[in-house]
C-alpha cells in the first residue's frame, strides 16, 4: 500500500502540473518551431510571444476593464451577501423561507438562459428612461453584483449561523440597536470571511464569459475572458501566441489567490486541515 500510495500521489501531481507546464513551454516557442514540431520539448526559448500577444488585442486594456468591472461587482455582491446572510441567520425576518428561496433560486439559473432577456431589458430601459446598464463597465458591475449575490448570501448565511449567539445578545442587552449590534460586533468578527467572499467573487466574476460577451456590445470595454475567447477566432487556435495571451490573462487571478491563500484555506475548509 505504501508504494502504491506514493505512485498515485506522484502520478496525480504530474497529471496536474504537466498541462500547466506545457502551456508555458508552448508560449516560449517560436511560431515556426511550433508549426514544424508542436510536441517538441527542446528547441528555442523566447519571450517574444508575450509582447506580441500583449499588443495584438490590447490585453492590458482588457485586464484593466475586467478589474474595473469585477472589483466593484465583487464589493456589491459581498455587501448584499453580508447584509442578507446576517439577517437570515440572526434576525427575526418575516417570510424568511420565501426570502431564502428567492436568494437561492438565483443559483439554479444558468447564465446562458438569462443573457438574452437581460440584454433586452437593458435596451428597453435605455429606450424608456434614457439610462441603462448596457455597454458600460458600471452596468456590468451591477449585473455581476446581483448575479453573484446569491451564493454570497448562502456563504455568509452559513458563516453567521456558526457565530455564537451570546456575543450578539450581550450587545443587545447593553441596549444596542440591531444596526449597532451588526456594525460593532458582528461585522468586525466577519472581516476574514468578508476578505474570502471578496476574493472568491473577484475570481468568479473574472471567470465569467457570457455576460461579458453580450452586455458590452460596442467593444469600447472588453473583459479579459472576452479577449481570450475572441483571440482564437482572430489567430490560429493553440499557437504560441494564444498560449502567451492565456498566461497573461490568468496571471492576475493567480497572484490574487496566492496572496489570499492563507485566509482561503482556513475560512473555506474550516481550519481543520492540518499536516
Amino acid at each position: 500500500m505504501r508504494w502504491g500510495a506514493r505512485i498515485v500521489m506522484v502520478v496525480a501531481c504530474l497529471a496536474v502540473l504537466f498541462p500547466l507546464l506545457w502551456v508555458l513551454r508552448t508560449a516560449l516557442k517560436s511560431d515556426a518551431e511550433f508549426i514544424s514540431q508542436p510536441a517538441a520539448i527542446g528547441g528555442t526559448f523566447t519571450l517574444d510571444n508575450f509582447a506580441a500577444a500583449w499588443n495584438a488585442v490590447d490585453l492590458g486594456g482588457a485586464i484593466r476593464d475586467s478589474l474595473v468591472i469585477t472589483i466593484p461587482g465583487a464589493m456589491l455582491a459581498t455587501f448584499l451577501g453580508v447584509l442578507a446572510g446576517y439577517a437570515l441567520a440572526k434576525l427575526p425576518v418575516p417570510a424568511k423561507r420565501l426570502l431564502l428561496v428567492l436568494a437561492v433560486g438565483g443559483l439554479t439559473i444558468p447564465i446562458a438562459a438569462l443573457v438574452i432577456p437581460e440584454f433586452d431589458q437593458a435596451l428597453w430601459l435605455r429606450d424608456t428612461i434614457g439610462v441603462s446598464y448596457v455597454d458600460s463597465t458600471w452596468g456590468l458591475s451591477l449585473v455581476y453584483g446581483a448575479f453573484f449575490a446569491s451564493w454570497s448570501t448562502l456563504f455568509f448565511l452559513s458563516w453567521f449561523r456558526d457565530l455564537p449567539a451570546d456575543l450578539l445578545e450581550a450587545a443587545w442587552l447593553d441596549g444596542a440597536s440591531a444596526a449597532q449590534t451588526f456594525l460593532r460586533v458582528a461585522l468586525p468578527l466577519a472581516v476574514p470571511a468578508i476578505a474570502v467572499g471578496l476574493v472568491l467573487n473577484v475570481f468568479l466574476q473574472w471567470s465569467e464569459v457570457l455576460l461579458g460577451l453580450i452586455m458590452l456590445p460596442s467593444g469600447d470595454a472588453t473583459t479579459a475572458m472576452t479577449a481570450i475567447a475572441s483571440f482564437s477566432t482572430q489567430f490560429r487556435v493553440g499557437g504560441p501566441l494564444t498560449a502567451a495571451a492565456t498566461i497573461i490573462v490568468a496571471l492576475p487571478i493567480f497572484l490574487l489567490f496566492l496572496l489570499a491563500q492563507r485566509w482561503l484555506r482556513t475560512e473555506i475548509f474550516g481550519g481543520s486541515i492540518k499536516g
Binding site: 508552448t26 428567492l102 446562458a112 438574452i116 446569491s150 492540518k274 499536516g275
Partner: protein
C-alpha cells in the same frame, strides 16, 4: 428587513425580471429586431422533434454523469493522501487548477490534446499509435475527454474538502476496523464513505450549481460544441440558437427547459437527503 431589502431589489431587477421575459419569449418567435410574436407552444413542438435539441439533452445528461468521476476521484485521492508526510505539498499542487477560469483551462487543454500535441506524440513515440486520438475532434471521445478535463480542474477543491472531513474524523473507527482485519477496500467503502457523506453532499451541491448549470465556458474553451453537435450542451445550444443565429424565441424555450432540468436535479438531491434522513449538507 432593511438588511435583506437591497438583495431582494437587485435580484428582482437583474435576475427575476429577466426570467419573466424569458418565459414570455419562449412562447414567441423573435429575432431581436422586430417585436416578439406569440406562437403558443410552437417552439416546444419544434424542439420535441429537433435532433440537435435531443443531442443537446443527451450530451448534458452524459456530462452530468461525470459527477461520479468528479466526486469519486477526489474522495479516493484524499483518502490515499491522508496522513502522509508530503500531504500538504500534494494538496497544494492539486489545488493549482482551481485558480484558473474554465475558459483558460479549456485553452490549455486544446494545446495538450491537439492532434499533433504532446499526449498523442508521446503515445506514438511509445509505439501506441492506436491509442492516439483526436481527443476533442472525435465524436466518440469528445464527451469523455471533457469530463476528464473538468475532473482535472475540480479535483483539487474536492480533495481539500474531503481532507478537511478526514481530519475531523475520529481515528477510533479506523483503528477498530483495522484490528478487526479490515482490508483497505472495505475500510474505504464501509468507514470513510459513510463518514464523509456530509462532505459528499456539499461537494455535489457545489458541482451542481457551479458546473452543471454552466457547462458553457468549458464547451466554449474546449470544443465550441464540435465536432458538429457532438459536445453541444443545453446552455451552449442557447448560445448557438440565440446569440449566433438570432432565434431568440427558440433559444428562450431551450433555456426554459434547461432551468427545469436543473430544478429537477436539485429536487432529486433534496429528496435523497430527506430519504436518508439527514438535514446536513
Amino acid at each position: 428587513m432593511l438588511f435583506v431589502a437591497p438583495l431582494v431589489v437587485l435580484l428582482l431587477i437583474f435576475v427575476y425580471a429577466p426570467i419573466g421575459r424569458l418565459v414570455y419569449y419562449a412562447f414567441t418567435t423573435y429575432d431581436g429586431l422586430k417585436p416578439p410574436q406569440w406562437v403558443g407552444l410552437d417552439n416546444f413542438a419544434f424542439l420535441a422533434s429537433w435532433p440537435d435539441f435531443r443531442r443537446a439533452i443527451g450530451n448534458t445528461v452524459v456530462l452530468t454523469l461525470g459527477v461520479i468521476v468528479w466526486v469519486g476521484l477526489p474522495f479516493l485521492l484524499a483518502v490515499i493522501i491522508h496522513g502522509r508526510r508530503s500531504a500538504n505539498l500534494v494538496r497544494a499542487i492539486l489545488f493549482l487548477p482551481a485558480l484558473l477560469p474554465a475558459l483558460i483551462v479549456g485553452r490549455a487543454f486544446r494545446l495538450v490534446l491537439a492532434e499533433q500535441g504532446p499526449i498523442n506524440e508521446a503515445l506514438r513515440g511509445l509505439g501506441l499509435d492506436l491509442l492516439a486520438q483526436p481527443w476533442l475532434a472525435s465524436e466518440t471521445w469528445v464527451l469523455p475527454t471533457i469530463i476528464t478535463v473538468i475532473a482535472w480542474a475540480t479535483m483539487g477543491t474536492g480533495v481539500l474538502l474531503y481532507s478537511a472531513g478526514l481530519a475531523s474524523l475520529s481515528s477510533d473507527y479506523v483503528e477498530a476496523a483495522l484490528v478487526d482485519g479490515a482490508r483497505w477496500r472495505q475500510l474505504v467503502w464501509h468507514i470513510y464513505r459513510p463518514a464523509l457523506g456530509p462532505v459528499t453532499r456539499f461537494w455535489l451541491l457545489l458541482l451542481t450549481i457551479g458546473t452543471v448549470t454552466s457547462f458553457f465556458p468549458w464547451i466554449l474553451g474546449l470544443t465550441q460544441g464540435g465536432p458538429g453537435t457532438a459536445s453541444v450542451t443545453l446552455d451552449y445550444q442557447v448560445y448557438r440558437s440565440g446569440v449566433q443565429t438570432s432565434r431568440l424565441g427558440l433559444a428562450s424555450a431551450i433555456a426554459l427547459v434547461g432551468v427545469l432540468v436543473v430544478a429537477v436535479l436539485l429536487v432529486v438531491q433534496l429528496v435523497m437527503r430527506r430519504v436518508r434522513g439527514s438535514d446536513e449538507w
